[in-house]
Point group: D2
């Protein structure tokens, strides 16, 4: 099976490597060519443009940053959609919003291309280990065809419903993810400020009923206050934005989700965007070194 | 051991019943006498005033709604603090704020009374089953003495530090609890609005890494949209308020916690305060039946 | 000058009436035909489809609810854009987001049509009195041509910059509008709950330095707790959503704006969407009559 | 008339100077003695302790940072309340919360001392110019007596109601103040990010109906991005906290007010607390120079 793969960031590069390792024939494209080097050494072919990655593909996989990036790759100049042969299958693993997935499904259909939204739940580690979870929206037959490929990259594939429903579930999951991390960060900072030791706090909270299981995976980052990115904070801000957009479209209110979204946005504006989203703990607690000019004031 | 017990709400009545069942001799007081009836049948004695519950006590336990209620019982008219014999031990299991616990410790000390802040983590079910978790602040010797009594009501007793630290940890835990519930409710409502089935959503989310374990216990309430109180929403609003107060005192910011606090407050103002705090799911989604007069408007 | 006018809601119907009154020849279209009746009596012609309103137009004006509505009218089935003669001018007075305005400018340009984004600041009253303020983005020459038409509907026309900049300024203004109203409502509700009389509160606040001037216009609605729509709450929720979207695109954080947005969204979800946006005061304060099933609970 | 004056911060020092200038005989106290030097040169007498400022006073004025500071000065070691002669009048001009004012009124009454809560609306400039506005809670007779003294410091004295009501109104006013400033800052930052020129933005917004009048006084600070304190940001965070507390006590929800509170808290935690509260504009926009270690990441 000939696979085109577009988007070689933290996640995409590892997903593509797993496809190669399982014997899929891969043509890859990325905006920044350097990110492809390791894959080319492992046997992938390089496509200078999105369209070139699509030309011979039976299946095309995209793993891009956001709806704008997917739109550009699919429908922009030398986009891949016009280059896909009728009957081929496009699997979008990017995290986008449900309306966008449905729009892409429609664009694909208009060109005789089948479409699955199959956003990947998981971060760098699971991507590397082939342990992602895919939430899939689309036709059952298309999913059956995509099965071996998705199973090469993940441990679990969930058929959620028609096009857009995979993305919908991903929105919901990441909405919880972002809020759980922010709540944990606030709770830790409050606990520390109240005099509780950080290690004891982590132990108590992570072992208890109020902490989402994934938070245990953030323990070392929080302890060391080093936030090497597995899932960059800026993408969390983006995902929460997409959730807010989806919520607006279906008239759901997200008062707490919006607060989390803006907290991540503020952190990104203060320079934390490239770090892991657990760096929200850093942003909450750390005043920058040589910060604002000290206009002295006092009362009483 | 003679035990005075003040506060027979959802939690306190069950905690007191466990003490009785384990053979402690109990004198109980509650603002509303009717709540004591079952306990009196089980062998407890009635005290008409807080002071009367303290007169013969070796240990006095309080399980009250908030700092104001504790303050009134301890230091108000016929309060118990002046009635406790020097050397006795006061264990406050109420959820209050750390400053208040420290103030009570000082008031107690001033009268020769020893003090433990020992807020109970858990709701109605664990209270009934004697499965609460106690976070204790105070002297190790005092805790040792309190051990058998706390173990009669709970499955686990954690010595967190000096007076105020038990309460501090409880603040932190409930801050996470309230946010996790609100985030879950928003996520479910968004998912439903996006067309995902509620049962499938619950199954996926509760089985995954983004949901705090306690949320599984809310599944039936959410499914049935019936929120019989285990931990009333108004107390969650109160606990988040206390967390905000503690945060202010130690200069910690709680942007997401504050959003959750106000959401619960708004729900309480709309009549959901007496229901379980999982009723935040109800508030987010349900427009009241005969709601505002329909001033018609439209555009386009 | 032949004018096509699409969108006859609260605002559009009054704007179109002013154009008629000043002697412009008008062909109007609205999704719901009934809204056009009064204008037809005053001499306007009816167009069954957007395209029909465009056929003879020298200038086409749109005053629609949101980007989706504008997109549908312009580019949907029998949309007006393909029906406009090259060289004609499209003035979009709708409140949309800057990216959308720029996209429409581009779509127009692609068909040889000139474009101005000219969102109207003001509500029902100013629309009726021809006292709107227009924030215009686009070429100076196009604005000069549009001048007489805009002046027939408003008292002031501000050339902000190129396409998209009129909309940008409108976003910013409505972001302040929505927040000022919400802050005022919260302050009033707090003041009343603290025992301050509503009339005295209104007098003190509206006469002082902390209340935006427009708030005086909401005094009667707040006093009477009747919120006949001048600017429906649901459009405020929409405008704040568009501001959040624009903010995301340019990496600005809106922590307070987002809280206001979600408050309006929640109010809309509870049935207040069709009323004036000052009804946020109603939502904050009024518990619905026969609201949630009373699961009784209490403590102490 | 012998006046004791406690609290010589930004506001208090200027208020005391106006009393001196109008011929009142003044004994002053401040935690930091250095702040009194200028006043001593102008004829004030120094009191080493709060009690010493009260000994000969007919009226005692306090202008302190928060409830804790007032409590310490009044009831702490060598506090002034026990030192005031029966029948004297205590005027608290500090911004505190209504419950606290009522508690102080009660403490005063218990010692035969009369009490007015008379918080001062205005910042450094009006304090210096004797142009403050006082919101007074207490007995009409007491206010009549206090009249000349308050008029020496302010341009307007409003009798709001009984004890606590002056403070209540101040809460409400500052709640609007803090939110208006934060909304303005967000709007400006959004506008700038969208490409609107800052000067034009300021001109348009400040001249329009959506900006509270006081915002014009912040124009120069925002333009220069220099925030010399007139009303330090940390006091705004405190006032919003007190408003949140008062709101909790009377079961009012403040979803937007809480977002503003947390934004100021976050800014304070990042080092902006001593600057004018308009520095929230600085916090929203400025990423610290050599901020977080750049953990590189990217996607696509």
């Amino acid at each position: 099976m000939e696979v085109g793969f577009i988007g070689l960031g933290i996640m995409g590069s590892r997903m593509a490597a797993n496809l190669l390792a399982r014997g899929f024939s891969l043509t890859v494209h990325n905006r920044t060519a350097a990110k492809a080097e390791e894959l080319l050494r492992q046997g992938a072919r390089w496509a200078e443009r999105p369209a070139a990655a699509a030309a011979k593909a039976d299946v095309l996989v995209t793993m891009l940053a956001d709806p704008a990036a997917v739109h550009a790759a699919a429908l922009g100049k030398e986009g891949f959609l016009a280059a896909l042969r009728p009957g081929t299958l496009w699997i979008d693993c990017s995290t986008v919003d449900p309306s966008f997935s449905r729009r892409m499904a429609q664009e694909a259909r208009g060109r005789g291309v089948r479409f699955l939204d199959a956003p990947a739940a998981g971060t760098k580690g699971p991507a590397e280990a082939g342990q992602l979870v895919f939430f899939v929206g689309g036709a059952a037959g298309d999913l059956q065809e995509a099965g071996p490929l998705l199973q090469a990259m993940g441990r679990s594939v969930l058929h959620v419903g028609e096009n857009g429903m995979g993305t919908s579930l991903k929105m919901v999951v990441n909405l919880m993810l972002g809020q759980a991390m922010a709540a944990f960060a606030e709770a830790l900072r409050l606990g520390e400020a109240l005099g509780l030791g950080k290690e004891k706090l982590l132990e108590t909270l992570l072992g208890g009923a109020v902490a989402a299981p994934f938070l245990s995976g953030k323990k070392q980052k929080v302890l060391a206050e080093r936030f090497e990115p597995e899932f960059p904070l800026k993408w969390m801000a983006k995902d929460l934005h997409l959730a807010a957009q989806a919520a607006f479209e279906c008239a759901a209110a997200l008062p707490c989700g919006a607060a989390a979204k803006e907290l991540y946005s503020l952190a990104a504006a203060h320079g934390w965007g490239e770090q892991d989203f657990s760096a929200i703990y850093g942003f909450l607690g750390r005043a920058p070194a040589g910060s604002p000019p000290a206009g002295r004031a006092s009362a009483g």
